[in-house]
Amino acid sequence: MGNSITTAGYTFVVEESKEISGEDLGLLQEKLLQLNWGVQHPASGPMRLKVWVDGDEVVKVDPDIGYVLRLLEKLVEYRTWQNAIVNVERACFIDNFGTMTGYSIAAEKIAGVEVPKKADYVRTILCEGGRIVSHLIGLGSFVGVMGVHTPMQWALIAREKFLDAFEVYSGQRIATASIVPGGVRYEPTGKFIEKMVSAVDFLEKEFIPRYGEVFIDNPTLKVRSEGIGVVPKEKAVELGLAGPALRASGIPSDIRKDYPYAAYGELDFKVVTKEEGDCYARYLVIWEELIESAKIIRQAIEGFPEGEWRTKFPLKVPPGEAYVNVEWARGCFGFHLISDGGTGPYRLKMRAPSFANLWAMPELMKNIKLADVPVIFASLYMCHGDIDR
């Protein structure tokens, strides 16, 4: 089958056997060069992108995924209601609070359990912390594909303070397993609130001014990313984009405002949109969402209520179904949870936002040069663990 490798009964295709002919695509020349912007590449992540190139121009792009498949949705069926958070939180390791919150809200909807107010506020603070942490890495990797590694290093320094706060809260920095159906697992102590406030202080007083004066109006950054990968407003909804990519095309869709969950109904923030829909607009949306999240955390800490932080969740849940959306760092994450009266979920289906963004990417990569492939890829802000689950 062309240039392929057969080991242990499986066949891996390295190059397509039927070559893409230039005449089919309306070009003058016949042979096109297929580049594997592939799994072993400095900037691709665990995903392979087949890029057909005519000189310096890209003719066709075809993604190839499945390298991070861990069968999370199947593993959840072997767990109990409380245990399943361990699998659900590992969908993406950078922002794991959003996935746990979504699953917990879905389970509580089926069981008819009401969480106390304090748990809602703690969930909000943690989710916004996760969003900040994820956006910091998104900023760093977008400028990182253009050869400058300074933003990534500055962002990681600011991220450390947030990871310290998560460690004070739950004992772990990244895979915390701290939001369960029924509330949150640990008590939000004064030390946790202190660490969170100092992390947000560092972000607002040191990181944002220093970063904003160098990398926001940067001339070569704008030359490189303005006008590239433009998505007009109608096409954004048609393609099914999610998250910052959707909001950068002018559509003000944010689950925190449209269907409020946790404590978002009582907090005051604005939804960031831009009009142009190119890579630079997506970058600016991530930046401004970062600033908004810092304000949300401050508001939540000021209005922090008293009370319990965990209620009892029943061992067996009556049969039912629930679908819940949460606004994760990279878009709208959907959880479809089905229960048939047992001790654990019967089926969980996760709708991943990065999966939708990925399959919209070949549409954006028409008539561009080879050097624009990593820029568009990094601006769509995808997480590979979330594409494959």
């Binding site: 400095p42 400058v148 300074t150 290093q153 500055w154 320094i157 070569t220 080879l370 050097a371 990593p374």
Partner: protein
């Protein structure tokens, strides 16, 4: 005897090696300072011996030649590049008495040798017989052709102003007035140097995120060390020429001449490293547009301006 000392130690091969190690170390340290981290710290005091350790590690590694690569060309290219670049150092006066040759056409030889580098790097990409190095080699040719013309025009503007191609005479006749009149030529020369030697923001032929390290992809071990060494020495040589032509070479009030030379060189290097930490790289067609529509007309205008000034002075 003195000739042998000059050829081997200063300014000879040992000097080049030491310069390579120190510049690499300084680049890592200054980049780390901008990134708010420490950089090399443990190997030797303040990490000075870190690059030496890295070079020794590279020397002991196996270098792999692909089965379908052109073996002779692939193995020879790094040494050819190193020889061409080492020959450049012979024409640079580091102080009044430490230079290897001083002829009446120094500048021409230097510029001609620099222009001879692009085919060598293209052959490095061609001999690898692999997709990504081939694209890197093509990009090298593209970029260097566009960057050579402003380099020649701005360097020759200085030669026109001083009326001679000999480096020693240029340094001796330099003055503050000369520096101010030649300032546009200096800026164009520095930009053209960055373009010709693939330094960020113009490091398109070795763009890691797009073409996996360009024409250097298949090189590993000793070959790789020599190729990177020759690229660094090329930059060192061009910056030394900039110091000699525009910044007054080894002239300075109190300290010995050679120290002033290295101080001025360090200033230029600091500028390069900080530019690397803050400017994203631009695309190939944007670079070509910039070179041919902006840089070359400016260099031509600058040459005309210098000729005008020369007419009025003499």
């Amino acid at each position: 005897m003195e000739a042998w000392i000059k050829a081997i130690f200063f300014p000879g091969f040992v000097f080049l090696l030491v310069v390579f190690l120190m510049i690499f170390y300084l680049e890592r340290k200054i980049l780390a300072d901008v990134h708010l981290r420490t950089g090399p710290y443990y190997v030797g005091k303040w990490g000075i011996l870190q690059t030496t350790a890295d070079v020794f590690k590279l020397l002991q590694k196996e270098f792999i030649i692909q089965r379908r690569a052109n073996k002779l060309l692939f193995s020879l290219i790094p040494f050819v590049a190193f020889l061409m670049v080492a020959a450049l150092i012979a024409f640079i006066p580091f102080s009044e008495h430490s230079y290897i040759v001083s002829t009446s056409f120094d500048l021409l030889v230097v510029l001609a040798l620099v222009t001879g580098m692009p085919p060598v790097f293209f052959y490095a990409g061609w001999a690898s017989k692999s997709k990504y190095p081939f694209i890197g080699g093509l990009r090298v040719v593209n970029q260097m052709i566009s960057g050579e013309i402003p380099l020649w025009l701005s360097a020759l503007a200085a030669a026109v102003f001083y009326g001679t191609l000999n480096h020693l005479q240029i340094v001796q006749e330099s003055s503050i007035l000369g520096f101010i009149i030649l300032l546009p030529a200096f800026l164009i020369f520095v930009t053209a140097t960055l373009i010709v030697t693939d330094r960020p923001p113009f490091d398109i032929p070795e763009a890691e995120q797009e073409i996996v390290y360009g024409f250097l992809t298949e090189y590993g071990g000793f070959n790789y060390a020599i190729l990177v060494l020759s690229k660094l020495i090329e930059l060192f040589a061009l910056y030394s020429i900039a110091v000699v032509l525009f910044l007054g070479g080894f002239k300075g009030p109190v300290l010995p001449g050679i120290l002033w030379f290295f101080i001025k060189l360090a200033g230029l290097y600091l500028f390069t490293f900080v530019v690397r930490a803050s400017t994203p790289r631009i695309r190939m067609d944007q670079l070509l547009r910039f070179c041919w529509k902006v840089l070359t007309p400016l260099a031509l205008l600058n040459l005309a301006f210098i000729i005008l000034v020369k007419m009025f002075i003499s």
